[in-house]
């Protein structure tokens, strides 16, 4: 099929789809053709309209305007049942499976294969499910409980479930977010296979390499509009990023990397830290001005190490030093008092207070500074607003105002607010665990700039990231951890994706599932 395929022939024709929330256009006259047998990539920053488009197709959101034709029939909007009958299946990142049911039970859940007496025809249903399992290449027994399956295997079950219902289009949202690299490769093979069998795939992901590698056609959304549509090969990563954020992104520039003066006293040191089986004999020095990053795989002990520094747990062996003085920290409150702050990995569950305002979230760790009269516990509304407003402006947080609820902000802006929380708090060491997870490319760049500026101003910065590209863009020095130990150090031009991955994976590629 060529790029000029006539629109009238397309299997699914989305025309003029428009949806606004509270007066703001989330989707603005979107036209899109989807063909069976092809993998369609859908990319865009958070808030660009991907979710709205998919929710409209799934029938969980009614568009204000626009229509969707599937073959010769118009799709009834706003009805999940109609969407399912039309053969559209949707797989969300948080897989919707019942853990103590078997794979087969999950695949048949809600499947309209009942006999006329209202009973489930297990035999006939089982045949359909087994055929579907065959198509996706499920090798484990279908009576295995979901709780015993790996994340990758659960994805196969979800795809199998879609095929059991004769889905002709499957939309997948961030499927590789919790998959290892080999598992992702397996999933890609299955996706290609499904496309070859005539299924249309709508693939939503923030991981651009993946999209470029996998998709036959890529649609870019920005601010609710479709701004670019390209066939495979027509766009490279740079072009894609430019389309997503509307301008070019900076590439890692070696001149930006700072080689810290190591003859001076470190801002922060760890001496032979050990804790349970997770952290083993970790020592490091963090020097003034540098962004020090901990790389490695999920489960390498980096988050646990961060928790030890932040006072969430106490090391069994070893100690920490801040500005040359030995630290005695028993809980996070004492850590904060000493000048150590953590911007946690789980933004929603450990970071933001969702029902509170932006100002509340920013000011919560500096309440003492905001008193009307020092010594009395009463807060000054004016001081609170002023501090929040100045930090919002300083970090370029996009919000309707500091009194707006933080829940309404995009992930990137929420993350900036969490960084803002520590800017006036006398922080000496700021630990950022996965600072740009779930954040779009444009916001990521701004967050990186803020982190780097903070480091240059003298605050010790320790970044933990599983995103190898992020490490190369942000870090002045990278320490790679594996199985609780620091296994390597990279500086300057050595900080490359290849070197980091090499150090992370050493002796560690024997744990793949049998999902292939």
């Amino acid at each position: 099929m060529s790029a000029t395929a006539s629109a009238a022939d397309a299997w699914m024709r989305i025309r003029g789809l428009t949806k606004s929330f509270a007066g703001e256009l989330a989707l603005d006259r979107a036209d899109l053709d989807i063909e069976r047998g092809r993998v369609h990539g859908l990319v865009g920053a958070n808030g660009a309209g991907k979710s709205t488009l998919i929710r409209c197709l799934a029938g969980v959101t009614s568009p204000d305007q626009g229509s969707v034709m599937i073959a010769a029939n118009e799709l009834q909007m706003g009805s999940p049942q109609a969407s399912e009958r039309a053969g559209l299946a949707f797989i969300h990142q948080e897989l919707n499976l019942i853990p103590h049911f078997s794979a087969l039970q999950n695949m048949l859940l809600g499947a309209p294969k009942a006999t006329r007496f209202g009973m489930i025809d297990w035999k006939r249903s089982g045949v359909a499910a087994r055929a579907a399992a065959e198509r996706v290449g499920i090798r484990f027994p279908l009576d295995t409980k979901i709780s015993e399956l790996s994340v990758a295997q659960r994805w196969l079950v979800m795809i199998g479930k879609a095929l059991t219902r004769d889905a002709s289009m499957i939309a997948m949202d961030e499927p590789t977010a919790s998959l290892s690299e080999p598992e992702s490769e397996q999933l890609f093979a299955i996706i290609r296979d499904l496309a070859a069998q005539g299924v249309a795939i709508l693939y939503v992901s923030h991981r651009l390499e993946e999209v470029l590698q996998l998709c036959d056609r890529i649609t870019v959304l920005r601010d609710g509009r479709i701004v670019n549509e390209a066939e495979r090969g027509a766009l490279d990563k740079k072009g894609l990023v430019r389309a997503i954020i509307g301008h070019a992104i900076r590439t890692p520039d070696e001149r930006d990397r700072l080689a810290a003066d190591r003859s001076r006293q470190p801002v922060f040191s760890a001496r032979s830290i050990a804790w349970k089986q997770a952290v083993k004999d970790v020592s490091l020095d963090l020097y003034k001005g540098e962004v020090l990053a901990l790389g490695g795989l999920v489960g390498a002990g980096r988050t646990e190490f961060a928790h030890l520094v932040a006072g969430l747990a106490r090391p069994e062996v070893g100690h920490f030093e801040l500005d040359g003085k030995r630290l005695h920290v028993a809980n996070p409150s004492e850590a904060v008092k000493a000048g150590i702050a953590l911007v946690p990995e789980e933004r929603r569950s450990q970071g933001v207070m969702l029902q509170q305002s932006v100002a509340f979230n920013i000011n919560i760790s500096t309440l003492k500074l905001l008193r009307s009269v020092p010594g009395l516990p009463f807060l000054s509304d004016a001081k609170s607003r002023r501090q929040a407003e100045s930090l919002v402006a300083h970090l370029g947080i996009k919000t309707p105002g500091v009194a707006a609820k933080i829940a309404g902000l995009s992930g990137g802006n929420q993350q900036k607010a969490l960084i803002a929380r520590w800017l006036n708090a006398g922080t000496r060491l700021l630990i950022l665990d996965e600072p740009s997870r779930g954040v779009d490319v444009g916001a990521r760049e701004e967050i990186h700039d803020a982190i780097r500026a903070l480091a240059r101003s003298g605050v010790g910065i320790l970044v933990i990231s599983s995103d190898v590209e992020e490490l190369t863009l942000l870090a002045d020095r990278v320490l790679v951890m594996r199985e609780g130990r620091i296994t390597g150090e990279l500086t300057g031009a050595d900080i490359t994706e290849a070197r980091i991955i090499e150090l992370s994976y050493q002796d560690a590629h024997d744990d793949q599932g049998e999902a292939a």
Binding site: S51, G59, F90, H92, S333, S349, I364, F378, G408, A425
Partner: protein, 337 residues
């Protein structure tokens, strides 16, 4: 917030309401309680103008409301920090008994008896807080356990109501009208509510309480001592319960076992009604006051119309279920907004 996830595979399809309907629903959930209160007042004013619509009756309503308002505001604090206190009614009964006992049996002066009573209530609150935060017993279990124990201890202290030997000056506390001709309990309520409102909204500790209630992990990582904040909330609840118990004994002129147990349900109904007032499912002092007034006006109206007394529990229970339901709906709309 809906921007970064694509929740298409959720089991329950979201309600598909056009936007004006949504706005109307949110408006109704925000102002519904206040509108309800005004409608009740209007209804009783039209149908029983002579009795309901009088200064005496309004003062009567306020007096009745004041004791509930004090104990309910204390309870509000525990709910703000994401906890629960089922012992408040028992604490009020127990302290109400002890305060009269201190005067009648031990011969303590009034001021010392009341000081001991309030300290006792706060102490029980701190004990609740320690059990919840340090021992990590679920708040429902620990406060119910402590409350039940108090009933037994009260019985051991005095199986019979303490009615003789209580100084006249003690009963005068709740019967007097020192300021503006308003009953003293009303003045005490105003002072307590103003203080609790100020602490919750205008001080460090109030902000920290709200932070703990919004996201405990985030609060801990922000350097807040979550345990201390929670213990403070429980102590406040205990203090307020003790104050209500003391005022009730003053009003009754005796210390009676289980006299204040019924305040537990009233307080919960009021606090949950309040959480659906003006904000979406958050607990706050102003809301609690509105909730208390709804109950007080309701009870007052029921008695004016001569409804049999067994109507009261029906009304009370109904309001509680309605209030919690409204609060839950308000929160759900807040989350999906």
């Amino acid at each position: 917030m809906t921007a970064e996830t694509v929740p298409v595979a959720k089991e329950a399809p979201q309600p598909r309401k056009s936007s004006w309907k949504r706005t109307a629903l949110i408006g109704l959930s925000r102002y519904g309680t206040i509108i309800g209160l005004l409608l009740m007042v209007l209804f009783f004013s039209i149908n029983a103008p002579g009795i309901f619509l009088s200064r005496a009756n309004f003062l009567n309503i306020l007096s009745q409301a004041s004791l509930t308002a004090i104990i309910a505001s204390g309870l509000t604090y525990t709910l703000v920090v994401g906890e629960f206190d089922l012992s408040i009614g028992y604490v009020a009964s127990f302290v109400g008994l002890i305060v009269t006992g201190l005067m009648a049996y031990e011969g303590f002066p009034i001021w010392l008896s009341i000081a001991c009573a309030l300290a006792l209530g706060s102490g029980i609150g701190i004990l609740n807080g320690l059990l919840v935060t340090k021992v990590r017993i679920n708040a429902v279990i620990s406060t119910l356990g402590i409350g039940t124990m108090l009933t037994g201890i009260g019985f051991t202290y005095s199986a019979f109501p303490i009615a003789t030997g209580i100084p006249r000056a003690f009963t005068d506390i709740s019967l007097g009208r020192i300021v503006f001709g308003l009953p003293n309990p009303v003045i005490i309520m105003v002072v307590v509510l103003l203080a609790l409102w100020t602490v919750l909204n205008k001080t460090d500790i109030g902000q920290k309480m709200q932070a703990v209630g919004s996201n405990m992990e985030a609060a801990r990582l922000s350097g807040i001592r979550v345990d201390r904040i929670k213990i403070f909330a429980f102590a406040t609840a205990g203090f307020c319960a003790a104050l209500t118990g003391t005022l009730l004994s003053s009003l009754l002129g005796s210390g009676t076992l289980a006299a204040a147990d019924g305040y537990l349900l009233d307080a919960f109904a009021a606090v949950f009604l309040g959480s659906a007032t003006l904000r979406e499912g958050e607990f706050h002092i102003t809301g609690t006051l509105v909730g208390v007034l709804i109950l007080a006006v309701g009870f007052n109206g029921l008695s004016i119309f001569g409804a049999p007394t067994h109507f009261q529990p029906i009304f009370k229970g109904g309001i509680l279920v309605l209030a919690v339901g409204m609060s839950a709906l308000a929160r759900r709309y807040a989350a999906s907004a």
